[in-house]
């Protein structure tokens, strides 16, 4: 079920009403409803793959309980590896099987050995990269004795399958989300209103910004050889806004929906396009995934400690794995490598934590230096995204080399389509994001001090504009991961 669908617009109020009006006195029933609703939400896409979620839930729940009563290190390790093998196993099978088979075949052919590849026609279960990482973090945290395993199987199933963030995150940690399933929830008016506001902003990002940009992005990237350098630059910039609007929009809807049910999910995007260097960018982009890799991969590898060589190795590992997480494609790996190259100088000069606070905090405008840093960071992040968006490395190279056939006098191609509306929308979007950058999301505090009528007009305007730009329901970009 898509957040931007009529189905979800019917589903959400039904679950909300049942949750708060009929079973609001009983946590267990509320959790059970969340499990049932989450399975319906997921099964709407393809009920067969529910079995993977259920299996993942059962195995990690069991492993967690076993770990609690087990002190012998070897046995604890075995239990941990059962969970890792299962979760990464299903992920690897569905997501990477064909990729490895094809690449092995190519490699063997290179040495003269002819192998008939036995690839499978696999459907990638939606959200598999997200929920496997979430449940894996639970087992690892229990293993490390950072959290106590839960005995409540319903609460655990709700944690694994929680529908707002099941298919595209934020990838939650058990330490944050699981205890919320154990505590009594009381309807909080302010929290619910805030949730609605965040949902509205998420829908705006998805439908108005991302989907509009996508129209031109798809056209430009699919026929890149036909376009001028300036058009390709425009295509890359629009893609940057597409992917941000799409993914952060999804996260906003997920976080807002969770708030309607009394839950707090972690922030997933923190205005990354206002970052002053690439290290800050990666602290603000897909936070739940990046911190996952930091905690469960980068730090165990030694992080920024050890020799220079170790630091370089660790940075490359985390970015390559992060790239590979996005999909079985060399483009994602190269995208990771390029970002590691961007980050490395900052890491080695120990200047990767120069910008912790949001830019120009408490001020209306950035300084010229800050503006230049923001534009530079945005440019290199966007440049890397070209590799992310193109389908093959040769297409990436072609796109990039054509992009530099750049003549400032060339107006980006317009053809039959008028992208000026999209550019205006993106501009307005940047302004709103800028003035709302100190909040959890752009419109969190916007208008709270305005007269009620004006505030409502503002929200109604966003709703109507979002509706006006809605057309055919379009999938979220990150569903493919």
């Amino acid at each position: 079920m898509l957040f931007n669908s009529v189905d979800f617009a019917i589903f959400l109020p039904i679950v909300f009403i049942l949750y708060w009006f009929f079973i609001n006195k009983n946590i267990k029933l509320q959790n059970l409803l969340i499990v049932a609703a989450s399975y319906v939400f997921y099964g709407w896409w393809d009920w067969r793959f529910l079995s993977l979620i259920i299996l993942s839930t059962v195995i990690d729940y069991g492993v967690g309980l076993k770990l609690k009563g087990e002190d012998r290190i070897f046995r604890r390790k075995v239990l941990l590896w059962i969970s890792i093998t299962f979760n990464l196993g299903i992920l690897g099978f569905f997501k990477y099987y064909n990729f490895f088979i094809e690449n092995f075949t190519t490699a063997f052919s290179f040495f003269g050995a002819e192998i008939k590849p036995n690839t499978l026609n696999l459907i990638l279960p939606i959200g598999i990269s997200f929920y496997t990482f979430q449940t894996l973090s639970y087992t690892i945290d229990v293993y490390k004795r950072k959290i106590q395993p839960t005995r409540d199987v319903i609460a655990f199933a709700a944690f694994v399958g929680f529908f707002p963030q099941l298919v595209a995150g934020p990838i939650e940690r058990a330490a944050n989300l699981l205890p919320q399933f154990h505590s009594k929830r009381k309807f909080d008016y302010a929290k619910a209103v805030d949730g609605m506001r965040q949902i509205l902003w998420g829908l705006f990002k998805k439908i108005v910004i991302a989907d509009n940009c996508a129209e031109y992005v798809n056209l430009i990237f699919s026929n890149s050889t036909d376009f001028s350098g300036t058009t390709l630059v425009l295509g890359a910039i629009l893609f940057a806004f597409q992917v941000y609007g799409d993914f952060s929009g999804y996260s906003d809807i997920a976080i807002g929906t969770a708030r309607l049910f009394g839950f707090n999910l972690m922030k997933n995007f923190d205005f990354p396009y206002f970052s002053r260097d690439i290290a800050e960018f990666w602290r603000r982009w897909h936070i739940s995934l990046i911190t996952w890799f930091r905690d469960y991969l980068y730090i165990p590898l030694g992080g920024s400690r050890g020799t220079t060589l170790n630091k370089i190795r660790n940075v490359f590992i985390i970015f390559i794995v992060s790239g590979f997480w996005h999909g079985a494609n060399w483009n994602y790996v190269m995208w990771g490598v390029l970002n590691a190259i961007y980050l490395l100088p900052l890491m080695l000069r120990k200047s990767n934590r120069n910008h912790i606070e949001i830019v120009a905090k408490g001020k209306h405008y950035p300084s010229l230096k800050e503006l230049a840093s923001i534009l530079f960071t945005f440019s290199i992040a966007t440049f890397a995204m070209i590799i992310f968006r193109t389908e093959t490395l040769s297409h990436s190279m072609q796109y990039i080399s054509d992009m530099f056939k750049f003549s400032p006098s060339q107006i980006p191609w317009q053809g039959d389509m008028n992208y000026s509306t999209t550019l205006i929308l993106v501009f307005v979007f940047i302004i709103i994001e800028w003035f709302g950058r100190e909040g959890e999301y752009a419109i969190e505090k916007m208008g709270l001090n305005w007269p009620k009528v004006v505030r409502w007009l503002f929200y109604i305007s966003i709703t109507v504009i979002t509706f006006l730009f809605s057309g055919t329901e379009k999938e979220f970009f990150y569903f493919q991961f």
Binding site: W20, V193, M196, N418, T472
Partner: protein, 300 residues
């Protein structure tokens, strides 16, 4: 909680009101069908496919007969004779009035189907198109139609209008403006003939179910007034294809004539008229054809 629900309700209501106002901007440029679902129920109807939609102009009925007739014809995809069209006709037709005038355009295509089994009505494509999914046909703005059938973004209702060569009048006539210089017309006709020969002729088959529904439509409308069957003119090359598709079309229609108030076959005069693409009458010829039909009706 109550406060939240009430506020949310008011918010939705206000937003919906603004959206309704925007929907009111939908007009004849919106698409070739929308307006027909926004006007009141009608006493007199012109029925058929796109030939009738573009070719029969209601304003001349007013001028020459003082009759307000409504063109409720769509396309070969939307409105071949069948259950879906008949149900929609019943919804659009004002049953409280008698002495109506009904003109049914007939041709081999509107009693054929391109399904493998031409009589499997469950698979008729019009079932899932606008006539099938719009049960309210006289509401303005028509939310049901716009939600289910409007392609593109609702934003286009406000802007990007008037870029189309088609305009749907409030009387249901679809006005098409096209360049009519000889070379362009020839190109369009050749293209249409190619499509009809290669794609349509090879797939369309006579459907006895559709034929039965044409009969049912005539019988239903006969209770409320006079029903005339008309075969509109077309380019000779298209005519040849139609003959190949259904050589016995006239025989088939002859069986229906007694149920109606008359049949006017205009195909002997095909050469008298101009066509935008061979299949559809150009608007000036449409006027002539409409006047001919009116003259013929008056003589009946």
């Amino acid at each position: 909680m109550r406060r939240f629900i009430i506020q949310l309700f008011i918010f939705c209501l206000l937003s919906l009101s603004v959206i309704s106002l925007i929907f009111l901007k939908a007009d004849g440029y919106t698409d070739p069908f929308y307006i027909r679902f926004t006007t009141s129920k009608q006493k007199n109807l012109i029925l058929g496919t796109s030939r009738a939609a573009q070719g029969i102009q209601p304003r001349f009925f007013k001028e020459m007969m003082d009759v307000d007739i409504y063109n409720y014809s769509f396309t070969i995809g939307q409105s071949p004779y069948g259950r879906t069209y008949l149900e929609s006709i019943k919804r659009k037709h004002n049953r409280n009035e008698k002495d109506g005038l009904f003109i049914l355009a007939v041709d081999p295509w509107c009693i054929s189907s391109k399904n493998e089994n031409p009589n499997d009505s469950t698979r008729f494509r019009e079932n899932n198109l606008c006539l099938g999914n719009t049960t309210i046909v006289n509401m303005k703005p028509n939310f049901q139609y716009l939600f289910n059938n409007f392609s593109g973004k609702y934003f286009d209702l406000l802007f990007n209008r008037k870029k189309t060569s088609m305009f749907l009048h409030t009387n249901g006539w679809l006005e098409v403006t096209a360049r009519m210089d000889t070379a362009v017309v020839k190109e369009r006709i050749d293209y249409k003939v190619k499509i009809y020969r290669e794609k349509n002729l090879t797939r369309y088959k006579f459907s006895s179910v559709r034929f039965d529904y044409l009969k049912k439509t005539i019988l239903y409308l006969r209770e409320y007034g006079k029903v005339y069957l008309v075969r509109l003119p077309m380019h000779e090359k298209i005519m040849e294809i139609e003959k190949e598709l259904m050589p016995d079309f006239n025989t088939k229609i002859t069986g229906l004539i007694p149920l109606s108030d008359g049949y006017f076959d205009m195909t002997p005069y095909n050469e008298k008229y101009e066509y935008t693409d061979g299949n559809h009458l150009y608007k000036e010829s449409g006027e002539l054809v409409t006047r001919e039909i009116i003259h013929w009706i008056k003589t009946q």
